[in-house]
C-alpha cells in the first residue's frame, strides 16, 4: 500500500507538472484576447474524451481500492442482529452501487457521445410522460423493498429486550465509560440519582433502594455469551454514544434521559482471537458523539465470555458498598438489615472512615 500511495503521489506530481506546463502557455493566451472560439475545437473534444477516461479509470480505481480495503473492514458481526444488518447493508450497497454506476455511465457516455459538432442540431425533446412515469415508479418500488426489509430489522432490534436478558449499565463521562452490574445476588440494578455522585460513587448509586446494595462497578465490560444482553445507557455530563463496532451496536448516552440497547452476542473474545488469528484481539467500546477534548480516546474494553467464567468473574468483584461502607449511612433504617452482609464487620471497619463510619458501624452493630 505504501508503494501505491507513493505511486499515486507521483502521478499527482506528474499531473501537477503537466498542468503548470500548460498553464504557462495558457497564461500567455489570457492576455491576448483571442477571436471568438468555435465550439467544435480541440478543447471540446478533449473534455469529452476526458469524461470517458475518467469513467474507465475511475471505475478501475474504485474497484481496486474496494478490493484492497475489504481486508480492513470489520470481521463478521459477533451478534445476531449484527449479521442481519450486515446482510441488509451489503445487499443495499449492491443495489445502490449498481444504480450509481449505471447512471454515472450514462451521464459520462452521453456527455462524450453528444459533444458539439458543427452543423449538428440537438433533438428537441422536452418530455416523455411514459419514461418519466417509469423512472419514478421503478426507484420507488426498489426503495420500498429496501425500506420494508430495513424496517422489519429495525423493529426487531428496537423491540423490548427478551425476558431474562442480562442487564448491565454503561455510564459515560468525560472521558471514559463506567460499567455497573446488578450484582451477584438479586440481578437487579439499583436506583440512581445524579445528585449522589461523588468521587467514589461515580455513577450515583442510590442506597435507599435495596437492589443497589450488591451493585458493583468496573472499568471493563464483561458480558456472558449466548444470551441477550441489555445495556442501560446513561451520561453524567454531556452527550456520549456507545459504539461497539463488532457487535453493530450504537446508542447515544444522554444526560437526564436513560437509553438502552439490547443484543445477543454469540462469539466470545476467545473465539474471535482464534478466528482472527490475533491473540491480542479485544472487543472495544468507543464513543461516537463529540464530547470534548478527549472524545477520540474515550474507550472501554469489552470481554465476552461463557456464562461460567462470567459468573466467576462477577463473584470476584466487590460491591461498591463493601468498598466504601460509609455509604451505609444513606441506607434507610428499615433496610439496614438487608445491607449488612455487604458491609465489613465493625472491627475491620474502624480504620476505613471517621465521620460516617459511626453510623455504619452502629447500623451493623445493632444487628448482632
Amino acid at each position: 500500500m505504501v508503494y501505491i500511495v507513493g505511486l499515486l503521489s507521483l502521478v499527482f506530481l506528474a499531473l501537477a507538472f503537466m498542468v503548470f506546463g500548460r498553464l504557462t502557455s495558457v497564461m500567455k493566451s489570457v492576455g491576448t484576447s483571442g477571436e471568438q472560439e468555435t465550439y467544435g475545437g480541440t478543447s471540446n473534444k478533449i473534455n469529452g474524451a476526458m469524461f470517458m477516461v475518467f469513467l474507465i479509470l475511475g471505475t478501475i480505481a474504485a474497484t481496486w481500492s474496494f478490493i484492497h480495503s475489504t481486508q480492513y473492514f470489520l470481521p463478521e458481526a459477533s451478534s445476531i442482529h449484527g449479521r442481519r444488518t450486515d446482510g441488509l447493508f451489503w445487499g443495499s450497497m449492491a443495489i445502490v452501487t449498481a444504480s450509481a454506476l449505471l447512471t454515472n455511465i450514462l451521464l459520462f457516455y452521453f456527455a462524450y457521445k453528444y459533444q458539439y459538432k458543427d452543423g449538428k442540431r440537438a433533438t428537441y425533446y422536452p418530455e416523455n410522460h411514459k419514461l418519466e412515469l417509469l423512472w419514478t415508479v421503478v426507484p420507488a418500488v426498489v426503495m420500498a423493498i429496501m425500506v420494508f426489509t430495513g424496517w422489519k430489522a429495525w423493529r426487531d432490534i428496537m423491540s423490548e429486550a427478551p425476558e431474562g436478558a442480562q442487564e448491565v449499565e454503561l455510564v459515560g463521562k468525560q472521558f471514559n465509560w463506567i460499567a455497573r452490574y446488578p450484582g451477584v445476588d438479586n440481578n437487579k440494578l439499583g436506583a440512581f440519582n445524579y445528585k449522589l455522585i461523588d468521587n467514589n460513587n461515580e455513577v450515583g448509586i442510590d442506597y435507599s433502594d435495596e437492589a443497589a446494595f450488591d451493585d458493583f462497578t468496573a472499568p471493563e465490560l464483561h458480558i456472558p455469551v449466548g444470551k441477550p444482553v441489555l445495556i442501560r445507557i446513561r451520561a453524567r455530563d454531556v452527550l456520549h454514544s456507545v459504539f461497539i463496532p463488532h457487535m453493530r451496536v450504537k446508542m447515544d448516552a444522554v444526560p437526564g434521559m436513560p437509553t438502552r440497547f439490547w443484543f445477543h452476542p454469540d462469539k466470545t473474545t476467545e473465539q474471535m482471537r482464534n478466528e482472527t488469528g490475533n491473540q491480542n484481539f479485544k472487543y472495544e467500546i468507543a464513543c461516537t458523539e463529540i464530547c470534548g477534548r478527549g472524545h477520540f480516546s474515550m474507550k472501554m474494553n469489552l470481554v465476552v465470555e461463557d456464562q461460567e467464567s462470567w459468573n466467576k468473574w462477577c463473584a470476584e468483584q466487590k460491591p461498591l458498598l463493601s468498598s466504601f461502607p460509609e455509604y451505609a449511612s444513606r441506607i434507610p433504617a428499615s433496610l439496614k438489615a438487608k445491607a449488612a452482609k455487604y458491609l465489613p464487620t465493625v472491627g475491620a471497619d474502624t480504620t476505613s472512615t471517621a465521620s460516617t463510619g459511626g453510623v455504619a458501624s452502629s447500623g451493623s452493630a445493632s444487628l448482632r
Partner: protein, 629 residues
Amino acid sequence: MATTDATSTASVHVAEHDHHEHYELNFWRKYVFAEDHKTIAKQYLITGIFWAIIGISFSVIFRLQLGFPQMKLEWLRPIIGNWIEESGKLSPDFYLALVTMHGTIMVFFVLTAGLSGTFSNFLIPLQVGARDMASGFMNMLSYWFFFMASLLMFVSIFLETGPAAGGWVVYPPLSALPQAHKGSELGMTLWLSSMALFIVSQLLGGINYITTVINLRTRGMSFSKLPLTIWAFFLTAVLGLISFPVLLSAALLLIFDRSFGTSFFLSDIYIAGEALPNVGGSPILFQHLFWFLGHPEVYIVMLPALGITSEIIATNSRKPIFGYRAMIASMMGIAFLAFIVWAHHMFVTGMNPFLGSVFMFLTLIIAVPSAVKAFNYITTLWRGNIRFTPAMLFSIGLVSFFISGGVTGLILGNAALDIQLHDTYFVVAHFHLVMGASSAFGLLAGVYHWFPKMFGRMMNDKLGYVHFWLTFIGIYSVFFPMHYIGIAGFPRRYYSFTSNDFTSNIFQDMNAFISLAAIVTFSAQFLFLYNFIHSLIKGKRATVNPWQSNTLEWTTPVIPGHGNWPGEIPAVYRWPYDYSKPGAKDDFIPQNVPYSQTPESNLPHEKELISLEQAIEAQNFNDQFKQPH
C-alpha cells in the same frame, strides 16, 4: 424624471446616460451600502469566496493531522500560535475547533450565503424581468447583517479559548457548559450571536426573494414560464423562511441556558465535581429543533445549485431541459418533504423507535424526487449538441456527485443500517459528495456562467478546464475512500485513531492519500482565484449574449445599469427552453421573442398563443415609467 422617449430604441443610450446624471450616487451608497441587487450579489460573492478560502484551509490543517499524525506542525506556530502544543502537534481542542468552524463556515457562510446570496440576488430580478428587488433597503440590510455575523465569527477564531468547538451541530450540554470544553466558553457565545444575526440576514433576504418572484415578474412571465433557476431560488427562500426561525429559537434558548440559568436542554448533570441544579430539560429537544432547520438546510444549499445546473445544462446541451414540469414538481416535493424527514439524523439518540420507523419511510420517499431530477439531467444531455464550457463541466460534475453521494442516503436513511454507520466516516462521505461538493460545483458553475453578466468580461476557458478536472478528480479522491473508512467503523470527529485497536494501524496510507488529495484540490482552487481576478481586470470583453441563452438577463446591456434595462422591460411570451426547436433558424429563441415572429417553428398549441400576445404586451403592472427610475 428623465424625459427621453424610452420606447424609441435609438435613444436608449441617451436615456441611460441621462439617468446616470440625475442619480449619481456617492461612493458609499454605490459600492458599500448599496441597494442595487447586482452590487449586493457581488458583495455576497466576494464575502463567500473569502470564507471559502478560510473554511477550506481549516480542513487542510486538520487533514494534515489525520493523514500525517506524526508530522511536526511547528511551522504553523506563526499562524495559529499556541494551538500547536509543546510536542509540535496540533492540540485536540483546536482540532475540534477547526472541524466545527469548517462545518459552520462551509454550510452557512459559503454554501448558503455565498450561493443563494449571490445568485438569488443577481438572477431573480434579471431573470423575472424586474428593475430590482422588492425592497432594495431590506436587501442591503440583509447583506450587512450577514457581514456582522461574519465579523463576529471571524473574531471568535482569535479568542484565547478558541472558537466554538462542539461540532457544527453544537449539541448541548457540551455547547452549554463552559466547564465541559474550551470551545464552549466565549467562542460559543460569539457563535450563537453570529448565527442569530445570520438568520436575521437570511430572513430579510428570503422575504425579498419571495416577494420579488411573486410580485415583480414582467409581463407574460407566468410561473409556468419561469426559468428553473428562479423556481429553485424561490423554493429555497420558502424553505429558509420556515426553517431558519426554528434554529433562531434553538439558539436563543441555548443562550438562555448558557447565561441565564434556564434548563431547556439541561438535566441531571454532574460535571467538574458538582451536580448542577438544572432538571427537566432535554438535550434531544435541541436536536429536534436543530435538525428541523438542519435537514431543510441541506436542500437550501442544494436546490439553488440544482437550479443553476438546470439552466446551464439546457443552454450548453442546446436542448430544452427534459421534463420541465417534472423538475418543478420534484423540487416542490423535495421542498415539502424536507420538513418531515429531519429525525433521520437522530435514529440512535434514544428517540422513540416508532418515530424512527416513521422517519425512515418519509426519508426514503424524498429520494424519489431526487432520483427523478438526476434522470432528467441525464436525458437532457441525450442527443444534445454539447458545448463543454467550464460552467457546463462543473454542472455535469455536480450531477455525478449528486448521484454518487445521494445513493448512500438510501443506506443511511435505513434506520437499521444507520445504527452501525451513524457518526462514522460513511456519513462524512455521503454528505460531502451530495451536498458539499455538489453545491460547491453549483457555485463555481454559476460564477463561470454569469461572470460575463456580472463583470462584462469573460473568464479564461482553458484555466477553467484545468481547474475543473483537478477539482473533480481531487474531490472524488478525497471523499470516495471515506466510504471504506466508514465501513471499517472509523468514528468522525476523532483527533486521532490510535486509541482503539479497531482503528489503529489500518488505513494510515489511505488517510495520507486523502490528505494529499485534499491539498492538491485546495491548491487547484488558486487557479480559479487567479482566473477570477485576472479576468476581472484583463478578461476578454463579453458580448451581450455569449452563451446564446434564452433567459431575460441576456437581453440587458453587457453591463446592466441601475434598473437593469435602459428602456422598457421586455415582455415574455415563451418558456425559457426553446433550444434547437425544429424549423427555427437559430438553435435558440429567447423568451422575449413572440410566437408571431417565429411562425416557422411554432408547435400547434403555440399558434393559439399568438392571439394572447397583444394582451400580454399591453399589460403594465410593474414598469409604469417604462424606464429605470
